[in-house]
Amino acid sequence: MTAGVAEEKGERPMTLLYSEVEEELRAAVRGLLADRCPPAAVLKRIESEPYDLDLWRTLAGEIGVAGLLIPEAYGGAGASASEAAVVLEELGRAVAPVPYFTSAVLATHALLQSAAVDQAGDLPQAVAVDRVRELLGRLAEGRATAALAVSFAASPYRPERGSAVRAGDDGARLSGSVSGVAGADVADVLLVPVNGVLYLVEGAGVEVVPSLDLTRPVATVTFDDALAVPLGPVDVAEVLRFGAGLLASEQLGVAEWCLDTTLAYVKERHQFARPIGSFQAIKHRLADLWLDVVRARAAARGAVAEGSAVSVAVAQAWNGDVAVRIAEEALQLHGGIGMTWEHPVHLYLKRAKAAEIALGTPGDHREALASLAGVPGPE
């Protein structure tokens, strides 16, 4: 059944199902989050200290999520994007305020790509081999957190959006700024792409701005002649595409929480002496939304199984829209209570809306498909 796709790629048949290992990983993450990160707890902390670094240390250290994508030679698990995707589904489902996506996916992938780390653990391109080796080890164990100094509003098609950084003549100092950087405020190190080279910077100015997504605030990062270590060449568009593919799984998790929570609510909430979920107009809308989520799951799985530019663009184009639509519908179907700060649905709406912009809007990804899928525009 997936033979068609596999044949096109000429590889072993890919699967769109979850493996047993992935289901175990999911159970571990979900269990921890249920215990330590219910929506009420997230709501309580977002205005004081949004990130839950205790939770992050447990996730990274005990469950080992931080090192999933890092080769075993560096203390990681050497897992594939498919496992990372399952973690993201669960983190999305909990709008968990931890820097997994920004550090363990985006920054880690940039580092691995820049140093051209292969599965055997060789570092053919790294300029600063020791620094890369040491950093990967710390990231894998969750002892350090990194962020990629690229605007979260940039995309594989416009990777430079929001960035204005230049390297000094000696190639060891950076100046300029990047706006809308996610995860910078909890990062120990910043990875900064400048003119195709990835730099490692520890001393940068990070100013968090009030953010639409309360659980993943963005910051303006400023470099004022900051000391920087060049690590190797970097293809930012590829890094953002990899991230975009995985973000689709986080969006799936957001959509799933919204659907599940709304279903529970409409079964419970009575008006006119009936559960509101017994009204046919509500039922039909939820049936359509469920079908959107079913397809979002297939799209998210497709993006990590195939990893191609087409599959990523498809997953982002679909899941970005679906997450927003279902969060909006969840709010509407909760009625007045959904408009209150005390109900967590707004956290999901804000996450979904910010994620719609992050790493390319659905429209950007559809536009990319014009050439990727051979649907050219008007001449």
Partner: protein, 386 residues
């Protein structure tokens, strides 16, 4: 009385009362002269003439002290209800300070368990001699924190079907047991309140209408609410569209074909909605009020939501202007950022009748479609599933 006579009367009033003097004195005098709401009876701020003539007075007195927007609920909802159901005593007591703004009013209708199905409300009022003791919780009350009075619907008989066991009161917001708490919304601020009523004692002369007749009284209030919604004329390409278009025109670098096509579709939808509003107002003036009114709020909610969502996407701005928890006096679609507009517009399809309820109303009252099987018609309120 015709337009000319009314103009004369207004001129005479202005001769006697200096609009640049004390604001409250001027408003009191205007009320006493019958120039407050001319279609109200004489002695109650009116002249007992046709409502259309009010615009004559407004034009003549345009440069004199005006009423405040915090009086909206008093003027739009409480006053017509008091006029329709109040005793002479109640009308005399309440209408003058309501109109002058000396006393602000709020509305205690919705409850956490009674939103779309208002008639299922649970706030109890139990008679105790000449008084009623009220216990319950109300929600979505704007202005409760600076209100002197409230219009309040309560459950007085739980043993009869829900529509039959309600009674309507004027609630003294200064009475012991009334607690007002700001209700924070997803925008960060608190436009509304929760109001907790604990053993609040209201004397029987605060009752509006008969015991058990509260549903009918409340319908009068709500009818007047619906008239106000979805009405003001807008320019072509105006309203919330204006702010999106400004960004669009000023920032060519933000444009994409995806956004362009969606924006053009919304522009068309906004324009046909604007034309429908214009047509509706023409019909009203021509004395042919059509059923189209029910659709306007539905259309505006959808448009506001779609437009504000596109606006956020267009700007690609991951920031938000201000999450501070503070009171606000209303919707600020033009002063605040795109993120605020996006979030606040979500309420447009919930407040004042959800879009789902409006579709029910249109399908039954306008299109004549049969109602669904009712399971709560003859069940005593206390036995309803909830």
């Amino acid at each position: 009385m015709d337009e000319a006579q009314l103009k004369e009367r207004t001129a005479a009033f202005l001769d006697r009362n200096d609009p640049s003097g004390d604001r409250l004195d001027f408003l009191r005098a205007r009320f006493d002269a019958g120039l407050a709401w001319v279609w109200f009876p004489e002695g109650l701020g009116g002249l007992g003439v046709s409502r259309e003539l009010q615009q004559v007075v407004e034009r003549e007195l345009a440069h004199t002290p005006q009423l405040s927007s915090v009086q909206g609920i008093g003027l739009g909802m409480a006053a017509p209800t008091i006029l329709a159901f109040g005793t002479d005593e109640q009308k005399r007591r309440f209408l003058r300070p309501l109109w002058t703004g000396e006393e602000i009013w709020c509305q205690l209708f919705s409850e956490p368990g009674a939103g779309s199905d208002l008639a299922t409300l649970a706030t109890r009022a139990v008679r105790d001699g000449d008084e009623w003791v009220v216990d319950g919780q109300k929600v979505w009350t704007s202005g409760a924190h600076h209100s002197r009075w409230a219009i309040l619907v309560t459950r007085t008989d739980p043993d009869v079907p829900k529509h039959r066991g309600m009674t309507y009161f004027v609630c003294d917001m200064h009475a012991p047991g009334v607690e007002v708490r700001p209700l924070r919304q997803i925008t960060g601020e608190a436009e509304f309140n929760e109001v907790f009523l604990t053993g609040v004692r209201l004397s029987d002369d605060l009752r509006l209408g008969e015991v058990g007749d509260g549903w009918r009284v409340a319908q009068t209030t709500l009818m007047n609410e619906r008239v106000a919604i979805g009405g003001a004329p807008v320019r072509r390409g105006g309203g919330m569209f204006g702010s999106v278009l400004e960004t669009w025109r000023d920032h060519p670098e933000l444009r994409t074909h995806d956004l362009h096509q969606r924006l053009l579709s919304l522009w068309v939808e906004a324009e046909v909605t604007r034309l429908s509003g214009a047509r509706l107002r023409e019909q009203l003036v021509a004395g042919q009020p059509g059923p189209e009114g029910s659709g306007m709020k539905l259309s505006f909610a959808r448009l506001n939501q779609a437009l504000s969502g596109l606006d956020v996407e267009l700007r690609r701005d991951l920031g938000y202007d201000d999450w501070t928890f503070r009171r606000s006096e209303g919707v600020d679609f033009y002063g605040r950022g795109a993120g605020y507009r996006y979030l606040r517009a979500k309420g447009n399809s919930i407040e004042g009748g959800t879009s789902e309820i409006l579709r029910n109303i249109i399908s039954e009252r306008v299109l004549g479609l049969p109602s669904e099987p009712r399971v709560d018609k003859n069940v005593p309120w206390k036995d309803l599933p909830r």
